[in-house]
């Protein structure tokens, strides 16, 4: 015993005597022979694809040997296996370019989530009661096959519906093919922040129903109409990487970014110039810029071609959109419109982009068309520094939207593939009620959420790290190609890949689907590998296909709610961390401070700081937001960057049943939205609701901010 031990001994004698060692015999689990051949402590990297959004970033997983408790042959035990430790961008991937956003980094927690479903479950209690019992895969598949056989027997194959995410790729192709062979209608896709309006507009303007790729890297002047392209829209990693190069990594100086929005979003915060604009009038501003350009002969109106033709009055020089008229409608000063237009024209390549709130207005389609026309006018289509469309291997499969489940003859059997429309739809759409009426629902998600809680059967999927994955990035790089990757690690639980389960089911049906589908997704992917690969560098088929549409006339945005009774625009937005709420179960993202507020683990209501002062609302006070369709209560965040006539709320919180990390935290602003549609499409106009606010009480400590002051300099000096 050396000195140190002696002193330790004297230090602890008193307490040590009191604390007796109470044994903790760890229950001995059996140990399986390892299935991988890994050098312990040495990392290997395996490619995979981030599944969280449609960007389809190629990532690499750092795999190291570790001791995991797993199920093998229905038996729990310990195994030394390769475990994914971290996700990083794949430097070889055209989209991620070796980078990865916060959400993508956190995707790994899906695999290791403590509340992930480990085996199939069957409902025992009332529907929605959340009472399930564990069953075996054989029983589960038998049950599903039974219901499908019953449909076939009744010759009502059309009553089968599949609800999935709108992720373009071969997986969706295979699912659609499966449905087609069964005799069911096309898959139903659902995503709250879908880009259907923009796709529709691109189809009209350019003949491509696809999201554009922005060549920010070479652009000299970028005007963004509400597009949160550095935050959560489209392909944020690729766009951010390009933005980084646009800013400081290229010869010839730094481009200018102008952002028009009613709220200082994360992207707007990075703009050189923020243009505050009335909600729903972004299209007017775009046409105002076009008017100045045309009127001053900076570019010929004809340059816009088909995109211009889609706008009423384009050919005559947009006489209704003079800077003065624009000022009146948008609130943007006429001189500023004039200046912006001249700058836009004077700094080619210049590009405009639109997404997000402007497209979630009743006139969203018009706004998108207006911006497309502006791009076309500037000659930014398919040019360096402009917008382009990544060649796709094949046309996107036909899909239906959620209304197919709500309005038409309700399906008798519904298969839900990791989608949560119950949470992400306005309460007024009554999605939960519609689902309750469906006789049999099978859910394939890895978690119990608001939607799968209504299922009769839950067949948990592998996590993406455990299964074959593929993606066909729709946007993000000039030359994106389909990518696929094998499993990074062996499964932890008694789960199965959804698509393999369906393929298995297709063979087990009373009359197996014919002609036979591949046995597994892996087989399908590898069979396809040689077939439909696109040659790199194929140019986009812009201006080719698609029906010509009649020119659209500007209509003022329609808002739900009487302005006198509901004086505020309600601007929900995709949370930087939780996206549309589908990531609220990941603790890293819950604890990620929101970029513009630094809030964590909570919902908050943003309100202009001066308006709040007038209303006697202080930071953290509980306020109630009421629309004609419901109310939510949350803590106030006084935001200097929000229009005084608007309140904003992040989407993502307010889950009632979505794992330990999301349940019971915050409120869901989507619930109080009006079920309005963007005219000309079936997309939800999620930014078109008006609300009123009331202060309910003082701070209830639900506003959890990581950061303190919102301003860098203390304002008070001396006696002021």
């Amino acid at each position: 015993m050396d000195r140190r031990h002696f002193i330790k001994l004297t230090a602890i004698t008193g307490t040590g005597a009191a604390l007796t060692a109470c044994g903790n015999p760890e229950h001995q689990l059996i140990r399986f022979i390892p299935e991988d051949d890994l050098v312990p402590g040495v990392a290997t990297w395996k490619p995979t694809i981030c599944p969280l959004c449609s960007a389809g970033c190629g990532v690499t997983a750092r795999v190291m040997e570790g001791q995991a408790e797993v199920f093998r042959n229905g038996q729990p035990g310990v195994i030394s296996m390769g475990l994914a430790k971290k996700l990083e961008g794949n430097p070889e991937d055209a989209i991620s370019q070796g980078k990865l956003c916060a959400r993508g980094q956190a995707a790994i927690q899906i695999t290791y989530h403590p509340d992930r479903l480990a085996n199939p479950r069957k409902r025992t209690g009332e529907r929605g009661s959340g009472q399930f019992v564990d069953i075996s895969w054989d029983e589960a598949i038998k049950e599903l096959v039974g219901h499908l056989d019953a449909l076939a027997a009744a010759n009502s194959q059309a009553s089968l519906a599949l609800l999935t995410k709108p992720r373009r790729g071969r997986r969706l192709d295979l699912l659609a093919e499966w449905l087609r062979r069964f005799g069911a209608p096309a898959p139903v896709t659902f995503e709250l922040f879908s880009d259907d309006v923009l796709r529709r507009a691109n189809e009209i303007s350019f003949g491509v129903a696809q999201l554009p790729t922005l060549d920010l890297e070479q652009a000299q002047y970028v005007v963004s109409f509400g597009a949160d392209f550095l935050g959560a829209w489209n392909s944020p990693v690729a766009q951010s990487a390009a933005y980084g190069r646009m800013r400081q990594s290229r010869p010839g100086g730094r481009a200018k970014l102008v952002h028009a929005d009613a709220r200082l979003s994360q992207t707007a915060a990075n703009a050189d110039e923020f243009v505050a604009i009335k909600p729903g009038t972004e299209g007017v501003l775009a046409l105002g810029l076009a008017h100045v350009i045309i009127a001053n002969n900076l570019r010929p109106a004809a340059a816009a071609g088909r995109a211009g033709a889609a706008i009423d009055g384009w050919a005559t020089g947009l006489t209704a959109f003079t800077p003065a008229a624009v000022e009146q409608r948008t609130g943007v000063a006429a001189a500023r419109v004039e200046r912006l237009a001249r700058e836009f024209a004077a700094h080619p390549p210049a590009v405009a982009l639109v997404a997000g709130p402007p497209l979630a207005q009743s006139n969203g389609l018009f706004t998108a068309l207006a911006v497309n026309a502006l791009n076309a006018l500037a000659g930014s289509l398919n040019t360096p520094g402009g917008v382009s469309f990544v060649p796709q291997p094949r046309p996107a499969v036909a899909t239906r939207d959620l209304s197919a489940l709500l309005q038409e003859a309700a399906p008798k059997v519904l298969l839900i593939d990791d989608v949560n429309p119950v949470f992400a739809s306005p309460a007024s759409r009554q999605v939960a009620g519609a689902l309750m009426r469906i006789p049999f629902i099978a859910s394939f998600g890895s978690f119990v959420d608001e939607t799968s809680a209504l299922a009769d059967l839950i067949l948990p999927d592998h996590s993406f790290l455990e299964s074959w994955v593929e993606a066909v990035p729709e946007s993000g790089a000039a030359k994106a190609v389909p990518i696929s990757a094998g499993p990074v690690m062996r499964p932890l639980y008694d789960t199965r890949p959804t698509i393999d389960v369906l393929l298995d089911v297709s063979r087990r049906l009373a009359t197996p689907l014919a002609p036979a589908l591949p046995n597994t997704f892996e087989e399908f992917l590898n069979r396809e590998e040689t077939a439909g690969v696109l040659r790199a560098g194929d140019s986009a088929p812009a201006g080719q296909a698609g029906a010509e549409a009649p020119a659209l006339q500007y209509i003022a945005p329609q808002f739900d709610g009487d302005p006198t009774q509901f004086p505020y625009h309600f601007l929900p937005y995709a949370s930087q961390a939780l996206f549309d709420g589908s990531l609220a179960h990941l603790p890293w993202l819950q604890e990620l401070p929101d970029p513009t507020t630094s809030a964590m683990w909570c919902s908050w209501i943003e309100i202009n700081e001066h308006r709040a002062e007038e209303l006697g609302i202080h930071q953290g006070d509980v306020i109630e937001v009421a629309s004609a369709h419901g109310t939510v209560r949350a803590a106030a965040f006084l935001n200097p960057g929000l229009a005084p006539d608007a309140v904003a709320m992040p989407v993502g919180q307010g889950h009632t049943n979505f794992t330990r990390y999301a349940t019971g935290i915050g409120v869901n602003p989507v619930a109080i939205l009006a079920a309005a549609e963007v005219s000309g499409t079936t997309a939800l106009a999620w930014s078109a609701t008006r609300v009123k606010i009331t202060r309910v009480g003082g701070p209830d400590d639900t506003l959890i901010l990581f950061g303190g002051a919102t301003r860098e300099r203390p304002e008070e000096t001396h006696g002021r």
Binding site: R3, R4, I7, K8, A11, I12, T15, S598, G707, G708, A709, R711, E712, R713, P714, E716, T717, H718
Partner: protein
Amino acid sequence: MNRTLTKPIADDLVRPLFQTSVWFYAIVFAAATVVACGGAAWGYQVWNGIGSAGIRWPVFWGFYLVNFVFWIGISHAGTLISAILRLVNAGWRRPVTRCAEAITVFALMIGAMFPIIHLGRPWLAFWLFPYPSAREIWPNFRSPLAWDFFAINTYLTGSVLFLFLPMIPDFALVRDRSTGWRRTLYGLLAFGWRGTTRQWNRLESAMQIMAVAILPVAVSVHTIVSFDFSMAAVPMWHSTIFGPYFVAGAIFSGIAALIIAMAVLRKTLGLEKYLLPLHFDNLGKLLLLMCILWAYFVFAERLTVWYGNEPSEMAVFWASQRGRFAPFYWTMVICNFVIPFVILTNYKTRTILGCVIASFGVLIGMWLERFLIIVPSLATKQLPYSWGSYAPQPVELTIMAATFAGMILLYALFSKFVPIIAIWELKAGLPSRLDPALQVETSLLSTRLDTEAFSSEAERADRGQP
């Protein structure tokens, strides 16, 4: 003649050691209970983690450090005051020194616990001791916390000895008057003291040297406690004024604690004959002096910050001046300055009660001052993004209550086992005992001491008793 004078003094002062009232048990019981709760709270905190307290990012120091500084400040009551008075040979100090020094020792013991209580891993507190804990790595002597270790230990050692040495003759006295276990106990404590002239002379020499030595130590202790703050580049901490500011504040709160302790002892132990209004008057004047000095320091500190107008400092400045800490700040100003100043400047209100009221104000005010030094600065550091707040949790409040109860407990036990007034010093200070030349000087200092307490001496002399 001598004995008739001194024996009643000894009888009076030894009596509390032999007689125990129910109140004593009640107080000890109540205080011990609160201390036990504090112990339980600390145990809870150690077991669960320091997060049981309210400290957080960025306010990493909270009530524990506030109490640390507060109690170390209180500890300046005794040794420092007693040493000063001893050196200037102020006659009126004699009944005051021991109860003052006892405050020092107990407050130091309590204060020195807090750095350990507040540690994240208190079971490793011994790593602060100067020894090569791991492979020749000693503690970092550049750390103010290491200085604290040396300063507090030096001061504690010095104060314990300074308290204990003059107790030896009194223990001998109690030993000779007691029987049974008390005789054994006090016999041991008396170290075999007889009272030879050699012993008296050595004791007095030693006390003189100790008084000289302990004065700079006392000043250094609170200076070093202030260094805990001023060494960090935290707004409104990084100040050269902190050393004297803390020392002044410490003496200020120390005197207040002493006045309260004396008033309590006076009532509970029936020491009205020894702790006279004169003592309270004198201490009250001293308190007034420190009150003005403290106000001066606060003004000087605040003025320079305001005038300098450095943004990060101004943030702290306004946070306490009119922001969220303003209620505490203005309470502090009222308690520390307005109340004592009003009461103590007027000789009519500078009574025992008046002094006690002022002292309570000062204790509250000085506690708030420590709080206002620590928390607003940490909550409002240079980068506004990292601004935060702090609220104490039950664990902290319980432990804080336990320290006050601990002080009461220790003091009650001390006054139970030790004559709370140094008997021999009091005897040696009798006017008749003094050198005639010195008598004049002393009587000037303690006119009322002569007239009130020792009128009996004159009476007896008149009656011609020996």
